[in-house]
Symmetry: C2
Subunit: 413 residues, 2 copies
């Protein structure tokens, strides 16, 4: 084991999760620590205190991203960066996001404890508002950092109570003050984000480490099937325009269209509304959504562009309109980072597998600017965005070992 990896302290890392989970802790074991809340400010103070105790540089940018920098021997060199987010869903778990921040901080400490000096600074980032629960959209901090979303526009976003983000951020920074820098420094040498998998594949494959090859692309569609309301007792089936029957045929046809023996395609009909919803009236209107994801842009384009034709071919006597709501391209992580993470996992003797990320992460906004990658660790039964979210101390520590070994290598480039 590398010196730094050997200094990853499983107990310390676990205890940091326990301490963080008290901030916004809920009765069923989860947390409610939404972006720029009092709980978020408390989390910023807590990690800020740990950073100051270690003598790390602590600073923030104009959208509320928080940075902790461990100096390098050439401190002006572009830093190697790791991190994730500290905000949670309203009834979120104890690991989603915060693990990536705490594993990054543990990496800094392990480098300290091993007495290792790196050429480049190693920097932890806690991206502001990844979940998008209180302020939409999600992944806001990394999106503004990247220039994908506009700073002024995002500062003007209001939550459901009418609180404007600019004011919520000012309040948070007043409660958890740090040195503020102007603008956004995108000059990262590399970026690696550690995260719980939020899916069941590592558990099912008995693997400890997911070597994340990219973030799959996603498309969202809405379909409206228009039929004709009719009396359920009197109207022969042959003359009906039954929107439910057509919708069922369309979903079944789309399942065939999306069928993938390799089980990589993610096809979900999550919202399905049938009107007027009277038991003795033939439905005249069905509205449903499609969430469709794939890591390969070509497959995404090919299968996605076939949806409308499949729906029209299966609609029978009704009519259907198909609208594409979102189309997010896949992120493909730099092979150098993917290979490095796999190599370090193998060197540490950790069972691992290459896998795409099913969910979106801040890394997708960083990847266009520097070689980037992610490390996944298992979470119980794949459950996330749920108070029942669970991970083991040893898996969390294993991920931190792969992380620090990878960061150390990159920081000496």
């Amino acid at each position: 084991m590398s010196d730094a990896a050997s200094r990853i302290d499983e107990t310390r890392l676990w205890q940091r999760h326990v301490d963080m989970a008290k901030l916004g802790g809920l009765s069923k074991g989860g947390v409610n620590r939404q972006a720029l809340s009092a709980e978020d400010a408390a989390a910023r103070r807590l990690i800020g205190g740990w950073a100051q105790a270690r003598g790390y540089d602590l600073f923030g940018d104009p959208i509320g991203n928080l940075y902790i920098r461990r100096a390098g021997t050439e401190n002006d060199a572009a830093p190697v960066v790791t991190g994730s987010h500290m905000d949670s869903q309203p009834t979120g778990g104890k690991y989603d996001g915060i693990y990536g921040v705490l594993a990054g901080f543990e990496a800094l400490e392990a480098l300290d404890d091993a007495g290792i000096r790196t050429r480049r600074p190693v920097q932890v980032v806690a991206w502001m508002n990844e979940e998008g629960s209180r302020f939409q959209p999600g992944a806001m901090g990394s999106s503004v950092w990247s220039g994908h979303d506009d700073l002024g526009k995002m500062l003007a976003v209001a939550d459901r109570e009418g609180v404007v983000l600019r004011d919520a951020l000012a309040k948070t920074l007043a409660e958890a003050p740090v040195r503020q820098v102007d603008g956004f420094d995108r000059n990262f040498h590399a970026y690696i984000e550690a995260h719980i998998e939020q899916g069941p594949r590592l558990e099912a494959g008995a693997k400890t480490i997911g070597v994340v090859t990219g973030i799959q692309g996603s498309q969202r569609y809405t379909l409206d099937i228009i039929g004709e309301e009719a009396h359920a007792g009197t109207t022969p089936l042959r003359v009906r325009k039954d929107a439910l029957k057509s919708a069922v045929a369309i979903v079944a046809a789309l399942e065939r269209h999306m069928h993938d023996p390799a089980d990589v395609v993610r096809f979900t009909v999550g919202r399905f509304e049938c009107r007027p919803g009277s038991p003795n009236t033939v439905p005249g209107h069905v509205h449903f959504t499609i969430d469709f994801r794939h890591p390969d842009a070509a497959v995404l384009a090919r299968l996605g562009s076939g949806i409308e034709a499949v729906a029209k071919a299966a609609v029978g006597p009704c009519s259907v309109t198909v609208e594409r709501i979102t189309d997010v391209a896949p992120t493909v992580f730099d092979p150098r980072i993917v290979d490095l993470v796999r190599e370090k996992a193998n060197a540490l003797g950790l069972p691992n597998m290459d896998m795409p990320s099913g969910a979106g992460h801040d890394a997708m906004h960083v990847a266009p600017f520097c070689p980037s990658g992610m490390i996944f660790v298992p979470c119980e039964r794949g459950i996330s965005h749920n108070e029942a979210e669970a991970a083991t101390p040893s898996d969390l520590a294993a991920g931190a070992r792969v992380l620090v070994a990878s960061l150390e290598a990159l920081a000496n480039e």
Copy 2:
């Protein structure tokens, strides 16, 4: 043409529909004349005035059914009865129910105008609250008359505003007073109800008269499919318990189970609810209803009893529970009445077809007590329970001609 049938006055019958449609008339051409409303009382006054002008006996029973009796030469003989209901849906049409009452009244007048005296009395009934919109259940007047529902219990039913039926009935009788009789005289010699078809079969078959052979039986089911909520981006399809996917497979399997080349089976999934209804969450619960009807009790029992097994075979990784909510046996009309109606239609040269009734009618409560039947006339595109409900003056008159010819024959038995 028989003397009575030749005296059916198409213009008079149409004008009576026009006059009735003013009571509760709506902007799109329909009516809102719910049971025991001020509009219902006005309708009772209107037809009561016509009856008094003709010298017919006018009386009511304890649940608010209204009777108009044209005397026979043997006035104590059991009457031949016809009729339907005068109440409407909240946004109902101008023909549903009221046609059967007005066609019956037209039959009495045609007998008068032809100078015909019958051995038995011929009696029109306007059953109280067939629609069940304001007070539930529907077909209440005929149900209480038959003893199927209890008088005291029904008098205590309240509408949504808390008005008790007993009080609404007293108010109606105060506004439209008639002689009240105690109890319910079930000693009918025969019963024939005329009604618009509320379906498209007569129109499609270019027939003027539906010779109604019975009222199909109906069953109502609810199905609950339980799966497991999961992240749409991260959860492989192979490990999902997708309640929507299972529900779609079940509906498709039930459509095959219910497939009927003769198109007699009525199978409808009218309510279909999918939870939690988030586009990026795999659904964990689907609830849907089945409305299933067939005129043959054996087919109803056989196909109905197969629903649970079909659902369980198609449910895949989810679980399903099936509950039967209602099971109403088919009504088979007396062949003597069915034959008589067909014979009179043929004698009048009216294109006709035998058919079951898809919807329930008051006749189903009368049929156990005397030979009963129904006469259907076409309605445009089968549309009913809708302001757009439409029928032609000539079709309405044709039905009245078949009705009076049949009533005359029965009244001389």
